[in-house]
Symmetry: C2
Subunit: 249 residues, 2 copies
DNA sequence: CACTTTAAGTGTAAGATATACACTTGTAAT
DNA sequence: ATTACAAGTGTATATCTTACACTTAAAGTG
């Protein structure tokens, strides 16, 4: 490849992953304690550097895979972060991605070997650099996207109950939803398939399991029908043991 | 600054600006013919390279200013583009920004000296590299943001008429709106101030001029009130003289 | 085995919002 | 004085959103 643009500065390009999961009725992030300087030992997002031989999307997937062992994960670019002093280690541009993981299917041990932990978004610790900013922005993006696209299912096992789904939506949008209205709305989409089985984890009666009909959804998308949930962008109330509230974008 | 991360690749980081304007009842983009290799002479977005001494946002503003002479312009980061071969000149990460400009206030001559032209989004030519993809994505982002935030006013002169405003919204969302419903909705927000003056450009009767009440809007935002317009994300129909439709993200 | 406990599951009516729709007004040009 | 043109205005209907409380199924308990 002929090389033009010789006279311009080159930069380190990092990738940081905001990894969402849903477990025990709570929306969680996979965070780890940084293993190298600067800021060794502090809480951080999973990150890494872009190499010449990969695209941004590929690099983000690689980094997610290193931590979780997972591939083919729902991942979207959030934004590039480029303040001059954002990383005290060196001038670094960071491109943040967020990922949605089904914690059930995940090898929890693998995450633990890397010193990673699933932490509820209501109890986030202070994070290094501008990572808290990234998390705030990712939460906003997740909320907005949730109302436009049925991405909640990326966070649940393949088979899930309606109470689970409702609880997930409540965690994402940060407010209580009416059970009957929620069920009516979500079933009206025609995208859920009711199974014969029940899940008896959380009640004696048991709740019917459902599957999301990806096939039908894709055909709707092609036809231009829109998925729309009336999920308001209420704030998730954060407990006061982190700096998430302090850092403004 | 101590330099960590020595072992990682460095990359050129470019910025590309999707510059929106509204003129003659049409949503337009400021495009220019590229003055250097590769792809010299082809239509392109305004772009430039990030230097060590500036943040991404600063660089984007600098580049916009170089072309238009304008500063303090509404500008948002769209996304980073990082396919390996996206720029045949060299491996380059590009961070795209979109800007909203009041064409009236703009020195049209300055744009012309740079060989730039305002081109209707319904008549876009083929663009270099992945710039058409960037434009498509910027249009989507503009439509979505328009329904959440009163950014339309960034594209109009300080004083504007309701028919102008309606025409702008129609251009953005790509469909006709009902005059009475539109006026009712937009006036209900309480964010428009009716002036005594009339604009007689487009009718004998003349249409009253209005101003957007930025102050009131900011106080609403602080109080958490939301601006919401029911602007559907209809597609803007593109005429068949560009490749905008062909490139998929 | 009857009783208690727990969460799952179900429908409707009232209020709010969105939509469709047609005539009058003001002014310049002829 | 007449015509032509876009600006400006209100209401009724349909649709969507919201609020709300009891019944059901099954396991655990005495």
């Amino acid at each position: 490849m002929t090389r033009y643009y010789k006279e311009y500065d080159e930069h380190l390009v990092a990738l940081d992953c905001i990894i969402f999961g849903f477990d025990e009725g709570e929306l969680k992030l996979l965070l780890l304690k940084r293993k190298f300087e600067p800021a060794k030992g502090e809480w951080s997002l999973m990150g890494g550097f872009l190499s010449k031989s990969e695209s941004l999307d590929e690099a983000a997937s690689r980094i997610l895979n290193q931590l979780t062992g997972l591939s083919n994960i729902y991942m979207k670019q959030l934004s590039a972060f480029g303040e001059i002093d954002r990383d005290p280690g060196a001038r670094t541009i960071s491109v943040a991605y967020y990922a949605l993981i089904k914690i059930d299917e995940n090898d929890r041990l693998l995450a633990e070997t890397h010193g990673a932990e699933w932490i509820s978004i209501t109890k986030l610790p202070a994070l290094i650099f501008d990572h808290s900013q990234m998390v705030d922005k990712a939460l906003e993006a997740l909320r907005r996207r949730t109302s436009r696209e049925p991405i909640g299912f990326e966070l649940l096992p393949v088979k899930f109950t309606l109470p689970q789904l409702q609880s997930l939506y409540e965690s994402i949008c940060g407010e209580q939803l009416d059970k009957r209205n929620f069920r009516k709305q979500i079933l009206e989409t025609g995208l859920l398939v009711k199974l014969e089985e029940k899940d008896k984890e959380s009640s004696k009666k048991g709740a019917f399991l459902y599957k999301f009909d990806h096939r039908k959804y894709n055909s709707y998308v092609e036809k231009g029908f829109l998925f729309q949930l009336k999920v308001r962008s209420g704030q998730i109330i954060k407990e006061n043991n982190g700096n998430v509230l302090d850092i403004q974008e």
